[in-house]
Amino acid sequence: MISFLRIIRFSFQDIIRNIWLSLITISILILALISVNVLLVLNLVSETTMGAIEDKIDINLYLTQDAKEDEILALKAKITNLPNVASVGYISRDEALVSFRSKYKDNVEILQALRELGKNPLSPSLTIKPEDASNYKGLIAHLTNLDEDIVEYKNFDDHEAVLNKIDAISKRVNKVGLYVSLVFIAISILMVFNSIRMAIYTHRYEIGIMRLVGASRWFIRAPYLVSAVTYSLIGVLIVIVAFFPFLTLLHPYLQAFFVGYEINIFTYFTENFAIFFGLQFIGAALISGLASLIAVAKYSRV
């Protein structure tokens, strides 16, 4: 108990006495943590981008103009029951017309042409969203085998090509992201290691004397471990305080970029708050703690 309190005291004295070195260590931890969080943001953005693109590639079945409502609903039910189908949307002729009109509401010529035509030229359609975008093929095979009179047009060839391309891009993006993250994290770890080593280097004389007069190894290391945990805690807290205002600034840009798609960077970080920042704290504490142990071992000779 005495030892415990004394270790805390030693640690805090050490932090205060070498306040500049402490601040540098904390700053470097903060930089490392910021890079981790930026990577998290990039990860969310790339995931949302992929999701948005995959989302756009619904499969549309265009039906004949005279298809009856109950036939269509029967077909819709049938497709809904196919494997790997998330949902099937039915767009009736009227709805198609409404959305067509609103889409071209500023285009006088098209609206004029529509009016001259005098009747609704659009077909009803079914919009199929697959459950798992990476597994289109099976679904497309099922749909190709579908033998229904009311289906006017089905051609999935271009879908497949696009999907394969997206799949390849997304794999590459993930790979590059992983490498970039690894390099970033490696650099951060090196920087943290180095600043801790520097901090302990300045104490090598004191460490040597502690060892000389019979302090146990545990007692020599413990204050530095406490300092490492303290640095990590302060670092994570500062990052949290600084990061949310940054998100506030970023949010409108992201929203403008992803028109019509749900990207809420706040919920991403608040929902995962404990995991993200908990792990960051644990990671920072482990790395700086390990760095302390190594440095103390290295400098504990008189």
């Binding site: 060892r211 000389l212 302090a215």
Partner: protein, 226 residues
């Protein structure tokens, strides 16, 4: 109390610091260890406090074979052996009192005990009036006294002094030797490594002369022979 049996220590391939050295020091002895520069005296001290490991042979301290002492046990050994050095090894940003107290603090001693013992030790070495000075505010002799006070905090059975007077003028040196004799009288085994011929000759105690890493002379009432 201290036993070296065929102790051999090499630094790298070429430098042989200790070469088949045999030495036996009994409890309560006062032994001077002399010898030319680079003959292995400091290596002997380092082997005793577990800072260097022998390549061959054995070191025993108080019946404990410390030849292969584990790093996790070195601190137990160092509580039994006080050490002082030529360069004092005091912390410059602590007062003399704090320097001595520090040795107890880092070993987990109770604060009440520290408040009790540190002034006593400082009084024994004659520093009772300078407890709140920093090392740079006192003389070399006084720094070494503080070093001695610190080396005594665990009431060690052995006190190793590696050229404790090397940085002191003869008056201060004599006072330090007097202090070591006084400590020896209380029962502590003292090993004094020194170059100082006068001191050794005046002591009229056992003298061990080291040459090329081994014991060349061992006289019960010795003289500095070189």
């Amino acid at each position: 109390m201290i036993k070296f049996i065929n102790a051999t220590k090499k630094y790298g391939r070429k430098v042989v610091a200790l070469d088949n050295l045999n030495l036996h020091i009994r409890p309560g002895e006062f032994v001077s260890v002399v010898g030319r520069s680079g003959t292995g005296k400091t290596t002997l001290v380092k082997a005793l406090i577990g800072e260097e490991c022998l390549d061959k042979g054995q070191v025993m301290v108080g019946g404990w074979d410390i030849t292969r002492v584990r790093q996790s046990e070195v601190h137990i050994l160092r509580k039994q052996i006080g050490v002082i050095f030529q360069d004092f090894k005091l912390l410059p940003n602590k007062t003399l009192y704090e320097n001595v107290a520090f040795a107890m603090e880092v070993c987990g001693k109770k604060s009440s005990k520290i408040r009790d013992i540190v002034p006593q030790l400082l009084k024994i070495v004659g520093l009772q009036n300078k407890v709140n000075r920093y090392p740079h505010e006192v003389s070399g002799g006084e720094k070494q006294r503080a070093g001695i006070a610190r080396s005594l905090v665990h009431q060690p059975k052995i006190l190793l002094a590696d050229e404790p007077t090397g940085n002191l003028d003869s008056i201060n040196a004599d006072e330090i030797i007097e202090l070591l004799l006084k400590i020896n009288k209380f029962g502590t085994t003292v090993v004094l490594v020194t170059h100082n011929r006068e001191i050794v000759n005046r002591l009229r105690k056992r003298v061990v002369t080291i040459e090329n890493g081994t014991v060349a002379h061992d006289q019960v009432v010795g003289k500095y022979v070189l």
